[in-house]
Amino acid sequence: MKLVYFAWLRERVGFGQEEIDLPQEVSTVSELLNWLRSRGENFEEALKHPEVIRVAIDQVHENDLDKNITSAKEIALFPPMTGG
C-alpha cells in the first residue's frame, strides 16, 4: 500500500510517500493513524492534532475514521486544503 503526505504534514514526516505493508492489526483509518504515530517522533509530531488531519482513500476524501482500508491502494494524509 502507498502512503502519501502533503504540505506541513509531509514536511514533518520528512518525506512525501512510502510503500508499506499494512500490519494485520490495522484495518481502519483510525487504526492506521495510531499505528503511524508509533513509528517515530516525526510521525508523532506530524499527527499530534488529529482534528486537522484529512484523509483520502484512493484519491477520494474519507471522513469516516472507522472506514475499512485493507483493500486501498493509496492513502493520503494532509492538512485542511487551502486552494483557490
Binding site: F6, A56, P80
Partner: protein
C-alpha cells in the same frame, strides 16, 4: 450533460481566451461569469505563494465539483483552471468560467464551484515573504467552511 473543462497546470491562463471558448459554444448562451483568484501580497508581506497539489486527485475532485455545478444549476458549460508551483503576488492562481442562458444561474454556478473548490480541492499554499524567508503554510479559513452552508442539499428528481 456537458462535460466541464478542467486543467491543473503550472502555466498562467488567459481569461479572455477561456471566455471566448465558452462564448462560441452556442448562440443561446446569455451570460458568462468568470472568477479569477489572484495571489495577494497581504499588505506588502508576501513576494509569492508556493502551491503544492495532489496530482490526480486535484483533477478528479475539481471535475466532480464542476460536474455537480453543471447538473445542479443547468449550466451550458464550465471551465476550471488551477495553477500549482510558485506564483508571484499579483499573478493568477485559479479561474472559473460558467456559461448559462440566464445570469443568476451563471453566478450561482461559479460561486458553488469556488466554495467547494476552496474546501475540497487538494491544494496547499506556503508563503514566501518579501524579506526572503519562507513563511507559514496558509491556514484554512473557517469562513470557507461556512460558505458551504448556503448550498443546501437539493432533492433528487
Amino acid at each position: 450533460m456537458k462535460k466541464p473543462v478542467v486543467q491543473i497546470q503550472q502555466d498562467n491562463f488567459d481569461v479572455g481566451l477561456e471566455v471566448k471558448k465558452l462564448t462560441n459554444t452556442s448562440n443561446n448562451v446569455g451570460a458568462i461569469v468568470t472568477f479569477t483568484g489572484l495571489c495577494r501580497d497581504e499588505e506588502g508581506l508576501l513576494s509569492a505563494l508556493e502551491l503544492e497539489h495532489y496530482p490526480g486527485m486535484a483533477e478528479n475532485e475539481i471535475t466532480r465539483i464542476a460536474e455537480q455545478a453543471i447538473e445542479r444549476f443547468g449550466l451550458s458549460a464550465a471551465t476550471v483552471i488551477h495553477r500549482y508551483g510558485k506564483i508571484e503576488t499579483g499573478e493568477n492562481i485559479v479561474l472559473v468560467v460558467t456559461a448559462a442562458r440566464h445570469r443568476q444561474v451563471a453566478f450561482d454556478g461559479a460561486q458553488f464551484i469556488m466554495d467547494f473548490l476552496k474546501n475540497n480541492a487538494p491544494f496547499w499554499k506556503k508563503e514566501h515573504r518579501l524579506d526572503g524567508t519562507t513563511g507559514d503554510w496558509v491556514d484554512a479559513k473557517d469562513i470557507d467552511d461556512q460558505s458551504l452552508n448556503k448550498w443546501k442539499p437539493v432533492g433528487k428528481n
